[in-house]
Symmetry: C2
Subunit: 143 residues, 2 copies
Amino acid sequence: MKIGELAHVAQCTVETVRYYEKEGLLPAATRTAGNFRQYGPAHVERLRFIRNCRALDMSHGEIRTLLSLADQPGAGCGAINAVFDQHIAHVDERIQELVQLKAQLSSLRKRCQAEQAVDACGILHGLAAMETEAKHKRHTHLG
Amino acid sequence: MKIGELAHVAQCTVETVRYYEKEGLLPAATRTAGNFRQYGPAHVERLRFIRNCRALDMSHGEIRTLLSLADQPGAGCGAINAVFDQHIAHVDERIQELVQLKAQLSSLRKRCQAEQAVDACGILHGLAAMETEAKHKRHTHLG
DNA sequence: CCACACCCTGAAGCTACTATAGAGTCAATG
DNA sequence: CATTGACTCTATAGTAGCTTCAGGGTGTGG
Ligand SMILES: [Zn+2]
Ligand SMILES: [Zn+2]
Ligand SMILES: [Zn+2]
Ligand SMILES: [Zn+2]
């Protein structure tokens, strides 16, 4: 199959497929006489795997690790489980951050119940009066 | 004050300050004879405002809008409240997404309770068997 | 033979910074 | 007065995960 069909079955764009090849996530395809990429079932499987991981917001690094672990079928799956657990922790951490953020936002929001002049807007005043704090380093790849 | 001091009081780096100037979030400073940027209290206030907004994960677009609205002190603050509400919605939406994601991840995680051979790892099989779905457009700027 | 759908490469754009390199400024010290 | 060291300047490239574009080539139906 050609790249368009592969992209279609994996629900992504041809540009994404080419990008994954360049990044080394997807092995390079063989080429036809006209220099078109030619894919088989193994590519479909791998690309679908990658897209599924991406749908779970895993990073390319995490996916790369999973793929290379999966390519050693004899080994134990402990490392796989570990990567997975770490990623769950990433999601968890980001949820915590966002919940905190939402609380902060909601409390600010209460400061302006009815529309008024900009000068008097409690939200604006609240934003100006906030304690400016140093950016804390992000431990996860989830923005 | 010079850029280093400004960065210090606003808890960010000098590179970030210069970046904000280039992006038009922070107005250009006057320069000393030696071409150093020279800042006053208005810059401090504005930069702190920007950093506080960023601490709430607002996008530069949102901040730009807030700043330009704040620069019309006579007008009503309805538009400000609206931007704010939209951003709260962004956070909310992302939280929902991540909570769903976590549920999916947890259910996958259950498929491999004890370490075993990679071939048999339920997580790997689960990832391969997932319904590959088209990427849904993100309505928020929160990754 | 031509239109049209598909494919190719390489480079730039997106967000919000961060990190260099290489050079200039300035206050304090010897 | 010369030098050191902390600070500043510009310009450029890198980060993640793509998307978009420009400028071509390939292949099929009429
Ligand atoms: Zn992760
Ligand atoms: Zn208001
Ligand atoms: Zn927002
Ligand atoms: Zn396992």
